[in-house]
Symmetry: C2
């Protein structure tokens, strides 16, 4: 289930218009028309992008009267961020171990050279 | 240009097979056949996913003789992680300011109540 949640979240973030919408909402909640204003696309297109963001769980919308207010739901962003961070950390640990191994090998070689010179 | 790089990176991460490949490579470099072994898909499908990962810049491959070795290229993962982290941080600052405002309003109300009681 978490796999499909991550599928949807990364898919939602793969579009520049949707990222612009998330960027705007990260500064605070906005109505759909406030969200649409800086974007040079039609309102139906905005609604479609908003639906993708809502399905992914990145954005929550609430309708009061005739105004739909959109806001960021940080949980899914946190999940996606953590997925990437953990893979990066794993890769960096791997690199550190490689560096340690190379250091150890280098100092072994130094010792070999030292003892060679001492003779 | 950065927009399209992020498009490609988030798109690459939106597929569970490609995430499994990144997860494997985060533990260290692997040949294409090592990468394919745990996956229950055909080698051409693996190659297709690998091409998406390579185009996005998340994975780098190097062919020596007949063996193609794949490894993680952490720069693009870092970019994607930072994009999410910055939006989350912006949203959290917004929430903090809201909390401060509510605290301030609450203590103003307390003061009003206090002075009211003092009369």
């Amino acid at each position: 289930m978490q796999a499909t949640a991550l599928d949807r979240t990364f898919h939602a973030l793969s579009d520049p218009t949707r990222r612009a919408m998330v960027q705007r909402l990260a500064r605070g909640p906005a109505s759909v028309s406030e969200l649409a204003k800086p974007l040079s696309i039609s309102l139906p297109a905005v609604m479609q992008h908003l639906a993708v963001l809502e399905t992914s769980g990145i954005v929550r919308t609430e309708k009061v009267g005739r105004v739909r207010t959109c806001s960021v739901e940080p949980k899914m962003l946190g999940l996606a961020e953590r997925w990437i961070a953990e893979r990066r950390a794993s890769w960096e640990r791997k690199l550190d171990r490689l560096a340690d191994y190379l250091d150890a090998t280098a100092s072994e070689n130094d010792n070999d050279t030292d003892s060679g010179e001492a003779k």
